[in-house]
């Protein structure tokens, strides 16, 4: 497939470096995606980011993008015939702490169409940035034990033995709390997507 001759090229990415807090993560409000009146089941989602040595990454950014409880995105390209929940923002962004962790308060996202006549399982889109990452990494959070997982066409692209890296695990001590570990390298390397 060749480019039309006048087509421009998108810019290369570069690392966020160690000092991104200044420009990107000063607004702590982006830890909460849902106002108190948002519809749906409230969840708390804790991320931990690890490098290839299993050490926490204390200078990373986690960004979330997700649909509301009904599976609707607040975006004009989502033409499903219903309004997005005005009490739900869909976007979250936090820096990781010295322990490599950050925690978001949101709602359990609804299922939505896969564009092929089926449905995707509930999931949250994730972008990872960090010092030492020359480009953004994209992954998805799914929820362990969700009966819809086997119907999800994106998850089914992932080799069976690596799917587990995309499943948030419930915290048995705290109902509504989920944990999602991101391993940049190593035996438990998280699946990242080329989108």
């Amino acid at each position: 497939m060749s480019r039309a001759p006048e087509r421009l090229c998108s810019l290369p990415s570069q690392t966020v470096g160690p000092f991104f807090h200044l420009g990107l993560t000063a607004n702590a409000a982006l830890s909460c995606l849902a106002s108190p009146e948002a519809k749906g089941d409230r969840i708390r989602l804790r991320f931990r980011l690890f490098d290839g040595d299993g050490l926490p990454v204390p200078d990373g950014i986690i960004e979330l993008w997700q649909a509301d409880a009904s599976g609707k995105y607040n975006h004009p390209a989502d033409t499903q015939e219903r309004e997005p929940d005005p009490a739900f923002c869909g976007f979250g962004r936090l820096a990781t702490g010295t322990d490599g962790a950050c925690t978001f308060d949101t709602i359990h996202p609804g299922r939505l169409p896969d564009g092929q006549g089926g449905c995707q399982a509930s999931h949250i889109g994730v972008s990872v940035f960090a010092r030492g990452l020359l480009g953004r990494l994209c992954t998805r959070v799914y929820f362990d034990s969700d009966p819809a997982l086997a119907e999800d066409p994106v998850l089914m692209l992932v080799p069976n033995d690596r799917r587990r890296t995309l499943l948030a695990q419930p915290d048995p001590a705290s109902p509504g709390c989920w944990e999602f570990d991101i391993h940049l390298q190593g035996e438990r390397e998280t699946v990242f997507f080329d989108i």
């Binding site: 480019r3 039309a4 087509r7 421009l8 090229c9 998108s10 810019l11 290369p12 570069q14 690392t15 966020v16 470096g17 160690p18 000092f19 807090h21 200044l22 420009g23 982006l30 490098d51 290839g52 040595d53 050490l55 200078d59 960004e63 993008w65 649909a67 995105y73 607040n74 975006h75 390209a77 989502d78 869909g90 976007f91 939505l112 169409p113 564009g115 995707q120 999931h123 889109g125 972008s127 940035f129 010092r131 030492g132 990452l133 020359l134 480009g135 953004r136 990494l137 066409p153 994106v154 692209l157 992932v158 940049l184 390298q185 998280t190 699946v191 990242f192 997507f193 080329d194 989108i195």
Partner: protein, 233 residues
Amino acid sequence: MKIYPRPEPGDQPSLLYPPYAATVRRAPAMPPIPAPHTLSELTGPLYGHPPIGDTDNDLTRQRAGEPLGERIVVAGRVLDEDGRPIPRTLVELWQANAAGRYFHERDNHAAPLDPNFTGAGRTVTGEDGSYRFVTIKPGAYPWRNHDNAWRPAHIHFSLFGPCFITRLVTQMYFPNDPLMPFDPISQSIRDERARQRLVSRFDLDLTQPEWALGYRFDIVLRGREATPFEGRP
């Protein structure tokens, strides 16, 4: 289905680039899994940011006094790969001060902080995709990546564009910076032409007499598949 074509190999840095030491234990070892563009990728955060304040795009007016250094205007347009403007999209930036020091607790470079310069700004593009910042030309600074390592002067840029796919965080460099050939972060982009796309150009038309030098930096984000019969809007 890929509705937004992938960038050509060589147009993006390789994630593992050992001259940039931090990539060695942070770049994933496994190739990413190609995924289709579903509603989750074709949508993205458009409205998730708080309102933009008056001085958010003028980094020289955010504190009580004027910052030290060479005042500059950085402006350009945000475009897709067909050259169409991307209106109403958030542009965020951050940078070191004129002495090469970030207003950040983890920056311990022995250069002075400037109480009148924080070094963060943001704006939203106009209907024609244009954006404009007033700031101070950042200084080069040392880092510990290798012996006598210095980063060329640069400004970090962050953009969302129309959907999840178009997200971009990059760095803008300045023309003829002698440090660039020694900088593994910019050299991680192997293709010379691709690397040059991150270099702003001096623009006399943007330059304001008796006030500030102008640098133009157009930002191209990934665009949808070109359709040969579609006219330009």
